[in-house]
């Protein structure tokens, strides 16, 4: 008699296989704090083992294909395509020399930028330690935008290291195997990178969409965001250093899932579809190549020369200052030194007395037109001058007084010739 299992053998096997896989999926997915289901960013040991096996099986043939492709390309470029290479080499050498000069100038600017950053307590560095790697394969699925590189734990790569090119950021290391690593590209739907718009300084999170375009999500409607604006890394995700180019704004579209929000579609700076080599940032400590180190040493030496020159100039200026007139007069006793003079070095100068004073003249009595203190003032300021200018006028009381002795010490310091009147009555400071 045919049993139920034998009769529905095909269906039973199918259901058993499906059930096993569903249970396996349930183990891998968990509910997040926000209530949404999500995958664990780091695989469990069992899952990682499966991925490791799959990678170990696929990577060698991929390396073989990659090597074969590279060899073919090398053969073509070095055997069939050698025409005019000598001229090109000369041009390139000229370009190299020019670029080295520009690099030296830029290096100095970079050092200045670093000093300013240090002053502002920025923790960013200008140059990072990187590891070059070649791409040997992909996930094979457009729902999972990642690729494999030919460097792994043997090259000291670790998870969550940033992957870049000279054009811009590419992604981050998601999983590391002994001789290869998995890189999650920024246009994958599960990726995330903190970015900032260069002009408007609006921050957001960059992730991919179904079409493989990176986009900034979770932004409120803002008319300032325009196509063409540059997008940089914000540095807040602790993966990508701050200020690396991400791309430019391609278009702004409304978020279909959230009213009042927009999505900023970004055209990536790096050619994500045509990548061959990438750089993995393994350290944020600055490390300069030997040529730049030599340039920096030369710069330091030149800077040392400038400092020595500044010191010599300072010393010469001090010697000159000692020789110039000062506040100490060696010929005078200490109590008569100009340094101890407390009088006003710039005495108030008064206008000359009018030839025909009336009742409106300052210092006269309004009712009588008699001068009240004018004699004192006159005598203090310009006794000789007044005496010379007013012999014809009727002498007033004040004018009949003899010229008083100048009270200011500075006007007539002891042991000195009488001070000049008015503007010349400044203290003399002789060496």
């Amino acid at each position: 008699m045919e049993t139920l299992f034998e009769r529905y053998r095909n269906l039973v096997v199918l259901l058993a296989m499906l059930l096993l896989q569903i249970v396996g999926l349930a183990v891998q997915v968990h509910r997040g704090d926000s209530g949404h289901m999500s995958l664990d960013p780091h695989d469990s040991k069992g899952v990682r083992l499966i991925r490791l096996w799959a990678n170990a099986i696929v990577s060698p043939p991929e390396r073989l294909f990659h090597s074969a492709g590279t060899s073919t390309s090398w053969l073509w470029q070095n055997y069939f395509d050698l025409r005019h290479v000598r001229d090109e080499n000369k041009d390139l050498q000229k370009n190299l020399d020019r670029l080295r000069l520009e690099q030296a100038a830029l290096l100095e600017d970079a050092r200045q930028g670093q000093r300013l950053q240090a002053l502002l307590n920025f923790q960013e560095k200008y140059i990072y330690k990187t590891q070059a790697a070649q791409i040997i394969g992909t996930s094979g699925s457009d729902q999972s935008r990642l690729f494999y590189i030919d460097k792994g734990a043997d090259s000291k790569l670790e998870r969550d290291m940033a992957v870049i090119t000279a054009d811009g950021i590419v992604g981050k290391v998601r999983e590391v195997y002994p001789r290869s690593a998995q890189v999650l590209v920024i246009n994958d739907q599960s990726s995330g990178a903190g970015v900032i718009l260069e002009t408007t300084r609006i921050r957001g999170i960059l992730r991919g969409n179904a079409l493989g375009q990176p986009q900034i999500v979770g932004l409120m409607v803002d008319s300032r965001i325009q196509p063409g604006e540059r997008v940089l890394t914000a540095g807040g995700d602790e993966i990508f250093p701050r200020g690396l180019p991400v791309g430019v704004v391609e278009k702004v579209v409304r978020d279909p899932d959230q009213d009042g929000f927009i999505r900023v579609v970004v055209k990536p700076a790096a050619h994500l579809d045509r990548l061959d080599e990438v750089l993995v940032i393994t350290s944020v400590e600055p490390r300069f190549p030997p040529e730049q180190t030599q340039d920096m040493a030369t710069s330091e030496a030149l800077k040392g020369g400038e400092v020595a020159e500044e010191k010599a100039q300072k010393k010469a200026s001090e010697i000159m200052a000692e020789r110039l007139p000062g506040l100490i007069d060696p010929s005078l006793p200490p109590d008569q030194q100009p340094l101890n003079d407390t009088s006003n070095p710039n005495p108030v100068t008064h206008p000359p007395m009018p030839l025909h004073p009336d009742r409106f003249t300052p210092g006269t009595d309004m009712s009588t037109g008699q001068s009240v203190t004018g004699g004192d003032v006159t005598s203090k300021t310009a006794p000789d001058e007044n005496a010379a200018k007013k012999p014809a006028t009727p002498p007033s009381k004040s004018e009949t007084k003899p010229p008083s002795k100048p009270e200011s010490k500075s006007a007539n310091p002891p042991g000195k010739a009488p001070a000049k009147p008015d503007k010349d009555a400044t203290p003399q400071r002789n060496p």
Partner: protein
């Protein structure tokens, strides 16, 4: 479309291959699937493991073998992605089962039928993949249905060339 009974087709037209082919061809398909998108970029509109799964399921005409083949290939594909392992597995398990079940009943030697079948199964695979992601796992995943359509067309085109090529490895009595 000629329709035969299941037993008669199974007895008459079960394709047999060297054991090495069963392991090597899926492996080559998986490696190419992982390597070719690097060259073709976003224009890699094909799913070679699915094509191979459907081919063997149709040739062997055994739903169990088609199920196991689809499951193995799908899990392998999942292992190369960063998604949960089992999403592609479920999709290709069902596709392998369906292909074998259909292969018993219809004449799959006809090229038009092959192309039409691989086109429909490609769409089914994509739909199952999205279903598992969205409804079974509750993951937010956007889908570009045009890309899935192009992929189905690409699979059909590849099947036109690959199926006759793979038929050369059959063991003849």
């Amino acid at each position: 479309m000629s329709v035969l009974t299941a037993d008669s087709r199974r007895d008459l037209e079960i394709h047999r291959y060297p054991v090495l082919i069963y392991g090597l061809v899926p492996l080559v398909a998986l490696v190419l699937q992982a390597w070719l998108p690097r060259l073709l970029g976003k224009y890699a509109w094909f799913d070679l493991p699915l094509v191979v799964t459907v081919y063997f399921a149709l040739g062997r005409r055994s739903p169990i073998q088609g199920t196991i083949m689809g499951c193995a290939v799908g899990l392998f594909e999942d292992a190369l992605t960063h998604h949960a392992i089992g999403i592609n597995g479920i999709a290709k398990t069902i596709c392998g089962f369906m292909a074998a079940s259909v292969g018993i009943r219809i004449d799959v030697e006809n090229k038009i039928i092959r192309v039409g079948l691989i086109f429909l199964l490609s769409l089914l695979s994509s739909a199952l993949y999205i279903f598992v992601n969205r409804f079974l796992l509750g993951l937010a995943l956007e889908t570009d249905w045009f890309a899935e359509l192009y992929k189905a067309l690409g699979n059909s085109a590849i099947a036109l060339v690959a199926f006759p090529f793979l038929d050369r490895f059959q063991l003849r009595d």
